[in-house]
Symmetry: C3
Subunit: 478 residues, 3 copies
């Protein structure tokens, strides 16, 4: 058995001058509460507060970061227990699946997934040996045992993780039943929804017509026209807000923004209701909805988020057999300067409006996004997203963005995860990397130690609360 210890200085630059400062800055932020303003944890977890089933069901099966890598190396998703949409048989023996992960864990060398899992095993489950094919079953048993204990129930972990607020992502037609149950349960964990209407705003989404029916039902507004559709959206935003929401989110292929005339948009929506919307209809509709969401945000103060640039379900074979979100969403080149022009022209100077933009196209950091955020009062930059939520990704982000936009036009960290027990690992990594970045500035005499200390706290805690308008809503710790 190979014992491991996670080094206190991990991920910091190895240059002693930087490392010393980084460690010192990190000491000042590592215990701050976690604010998670964007993610995909299922609120049902905390409503039911049932024990997690087993390591494989908890860690591997819901995490496309993990199984896409195994798949890329030739392991069929069936062997990993990923449920097939056609009810084909998939591996049911979770111990066997876990063994496959152990046997192939070397694939994750140098990846954030490797780092997060190691952190999770070590700090959340107290596993002190290296994860390999040899140790896999011992580790499985160890985690399994823990999962039965009360200290490992979702709410207990939430408290232990010191999470001040956790934001989920919820569809426009979602009843927010679990958020409601959590509130009424008397438990004080702060779990709030985020309004993400993609399933009804993307006219070509699979099942769009059905989604509209759902939205009609839940909003009590019969959606037979675009204007009724917008009423329903407005109603839902108000409902989400009443349930604690502070933000909206939209995943779009392109960040193109453009206001259509009333007639144009009504006609497009009519075609959509008839099942005749074209790709161009859908693109224009999205561009228009982005304008409308901004307009509504100006009114109701919800922070607007855009996540563009992902070619969803690139692998149709996997989509057909296993559904969406299976590791086959691939980024594309994304243009911001021209595409956001109309929206920023209309709302970008509004100091009360906040638009947080994310990207999967790192070439836009220094070229488009930092210059835009370094000028428009409404625009802020989301942290490095998805594939770029990593040591090198965060380093590139800060290096490309800070010199033009400073740190105050960025918004702290988003863990963006479905994997609840990985949340501390992800925030810890982000805090380490931000401290390391600032330490590099101090070591080169670009900023002084006091400034760095201030900035490290901003990056770990203050900026996210300010950007997402969470200040004052909760008891602020520390």
């Amino acid at each position: 058995m190979e014992k491991i210890q996670l080094n206190e200085d991990r991920f910091f630059d190895s240059d002693p001058a930087i490392r010393r400062i980084a460690r010192d800055l990190y000491e000042g932020v590592k215990d701050l509460p976690i604010v998670s303003p964007h993610g995909h944890v299922n609120p049902r977890l905390f409503a039911g507060n049932e024990p997690f089933p087993d390591p494989t069901a908890l860690i591997l099966i819901p995490d496309h970061y993990i199984f896409r890598m195994l798949y890329s190396q030739g392991i069929p998703l069936e062997n990993l227990g990923i449920p097939a949409t056609d009810d084909a048989e998939v591996e049911q023996d979770h111990r066997k699946i876990w063994q496959i992960l152990g046997d192939h864990f070397y694939l994750f060398g140098g990846t954030p997934t490797g780092i997060w899992l190691q952190h999770e095993f070590y700090y959340v489950f107290g596993v002190e040996e290296k994860f390999t094919g040899e140790s896999a079953m011992r580790i499985y048993d160890r985690i399994q045992e823990k999962l039965q204990a009360p200290a490992y129930l979702p709410r207990a972990l939430f408290d232990r993780f010191n999470i001040e607020v956790l934001t989920t992502t919820d569809g426009a037609a979602d009843s927010l039943q679990y958020h409601d149950e959590i509130r009424r349960s008397g438990w004080r964990g702060n779990i709030i929804p985020c309004f993400r209407p993609d399933a009804v705003t993307n006219l070509l989404t699979n099942g769009w017509r059905q989604n509209i029916t759902e939205l009609s039902r839940i909003s009590g507004i019969s959606i037979d026209s675009y204007s009724r559709f917008m009423q329903a959206l407005a109603e839902r935003r108000a409902f989400f807000k009443s349930m604690g929401a502070v933000s909206t989110d939209q995943g779009v292929f392109s960040p193109y923004t453009h206001e259509l005339s009333g007639t144009e948009v009504e006609l497009i929506f009519e075609r959509a209701l008839l099942g005749r919307a074209t790709q161009q209809d859908a693109d224009l509709f999205t561009a228009h909805v982005l304008m409308e969401m901004a307009r509504m945000s100006v009114k109701d103060d919800l922070v607007m988020q855009i996540h563009p640039g992902s070619f969803r379900n690139h692998n149709r074979f996997i989509l057909r057999r296993f559904g969406a979100d299976k590791g086959c969403d691939i980024p594309v080149q994304t243009e911001y300067t021209k595409n956001l022009y109309e929206l920023l022209d209309k709302y970008g100077d509004n100091r009360k409006f906040t638009l947080i933009v994310f990207t999967l196209d790192e070439s836009a950091y220094s070229r488009e996004l930092a210059p835009l955020a370094g000028h428009y009062p409404a625009l802020k930059l989301g942290p490095p997203w998805w594939f770029h939520d990593s040591i090198e990704g965060m380093t590139r982000f800060r290096r490309c963005v800070t010199e033009t936009a400073g740190i105050y036009n960025t918004v702290g960290f988003n863990d963006d995860t479905r994997a609840f027990p990985s949340i501390p690992a992800r925030h810890d990594l982000a805090r380490r990397m931000d401290c390391n970045y600032l330490a590099g500035l101090v070591a080169r005499y670009i900023i002084d130690k006091n400034d760095a200390r201030q900035m490290s706290r901003q990056l770990a805690y203050d900026l996210v609360k300010k950007a997402y308008k969470l200040e004052g809503s909760f008891d602020v710790v520390s």
Copy 2:
């Protein structure tokens, strides 16, 4: 009062092996005269040689690098004294404005603007305390006091800064009156114009028709056709050259180059005179003028510069209220390989012609620009421009460009600034970063110390003089 000292090793890598070499290389170049071949300082400063009015008027109001950041954080430009085009009231109390800058100076942590200001305060004005809201008014008074002294008159600073040549940027219809006054004044400061005809070559410029009238008047050529237009341009180039110009410059949206037939271009120009030019007309005309400017450069030996890829006046609200150059120019993706094809095909092999290309799209460095400059004798790469005139920007530039194009296909540093007293700060930073880059090569045994010493001098002084054909025109110091 928090005393500060600028560390001698600032901006160098913190690794001692690199830092030691960087410092040593820097010692060899730090006192070389400044050659500033491209910038936006107003020549009137040196013709009149009047004292600068006050710190706010000198430092903040003309510098969009500064006020765009304040604006991005919600401070209206009115509060910063930026003159409104509609004569709306703006803050007149320069002390009050300065206090705002002090209160928000933390926003510039990690930005080149922060670094430049610190350098300027410390070395130009002898300010030895940290700039904060608390110290702001003391620093204001200190600078204000200095500005009254003869040693702080523009010409005295020019001499103290050890500027060998300073290039201004001047429109095609500019009389160069101030350049003339400087020459006739007997003062020996070398201030030369650069021919930038954008206001007459971009058919859709605001006021284009009026600009053409101006050009007619000053050239004595009545411009009623394209061919007369070209005559006027040629006349002005000759005049600029007689006034010491060694270069031209063009800011274009796209670097597309394409020669139109005589008929085509005449028709486009005719439409423009009638106020009927379309966007396509303007684009094609720019593409054609780039070809013509190259042709003329081959003849008259003026170095040709292109600055493409900026979406000017992205924020129309600011444009309407405060005019151009107010921090709202945002970069776009820029293609060079195909766009420069026709120009390079015709003139790129000409060893007497020099085309210096700049970019705001860093993804083009290693992909397009270094391979082009590493092949075509006529093509040289301008230094990292604007948002990329920074520690990380310069580092990325050298790392992306050198392995393919070497350093000898680059042209030293451009400060490109309107802010005269920031010139030493900017050149100092560039020299430090180039020395640091070379030190990194030495420390990894990629080049030896002697080569590095040679190269550091080339980057600080020799290359710029060679590229801009300034060799031999002046007494060479050192």
Copy 3:
């Protein structure tokens, strides 16, 4: 005479923590045999096994990396002895040409070409002084003397370089006569062909009609239709395979993949035979052929390679006077996510198929290529190519790719060279950089030393053999 010594730690990070680990890892891989799965060495060298003529003919004249840099600085190719297609006179005095190289060798400071030449001089030819204008002729004489010795014959060098397999690149109509001669000679050097059909698949290639005639002749299949063309290709693939080929290669402008209908493709081919193919015909034909090559690879198991994104012969003046491959191929922006969609949709999930993709557009590394390779079982990423086969290029590649795709979806190193004696230099540099990258991970506690050791061996030796299906074909050393 300035003596030089190549430092044992060259190219490693100067930070002692990283350097120590890098050196240690490097010790473990530096003597592994060289596997060169993609390159442009002429097999005739090893068939004839004649002495190399002289340093200039061996080193400078065939290497566009070298003469493009000299050309960019104003030295005409005629002066460098590059043969002109019009039989114009070019310099014949190879000593004089070598002197020019020596006089300008400073241009290569900080470039991989400079590094490779230094390595080659030092280790292959025992030159221990710095290459300058002053030493140039002494070094010429030294190398010239060596070249006469039996130890410097091609086969002797091949053995001394410890090359386990060397892959050449050969046209579809190539007889592979030299490969055959090598086999029949009894010499055991393993030199295998790679099937590159560009000259017949790119309908607008200069001389395409003639190339088709050649292909008809050598395949014995009279190509008067697309279907006959495909038969001929299939026949040639089989022949190449019988001669040891394990891979195909295609240089394409765009990686667009699209299957045409039988009628469409026949009509396009017909137009091509009549000399009437349009640019669009050629583009579509390439897109279709990529699909067909994948289909055939699935059948015959040849690894498929694509090298897209080079604008070939950008400088028409040079093309007319000196032909292709003269340093005037310039990269362009390249899109992979959408362009490879159809091919990956059809073949990307096939675990027996291997598609290795290269790029000259580094912005695609983290945005498109790593996410694609981190998902599709069939897709692997080729090493940094051409302009990016360099210290910084390799560093950017690993940093941008590993966190998303790991190292196991990459394929080791390709030297891709025409310059046979530079092969050890190139592999040595790659091994150093990979070890240095891994050492950086160890020094930051991202991976442990044991993992790093494993991974360093994979990158130097195992991955390339696995990816190119070379395992088991030869005696594996070490």
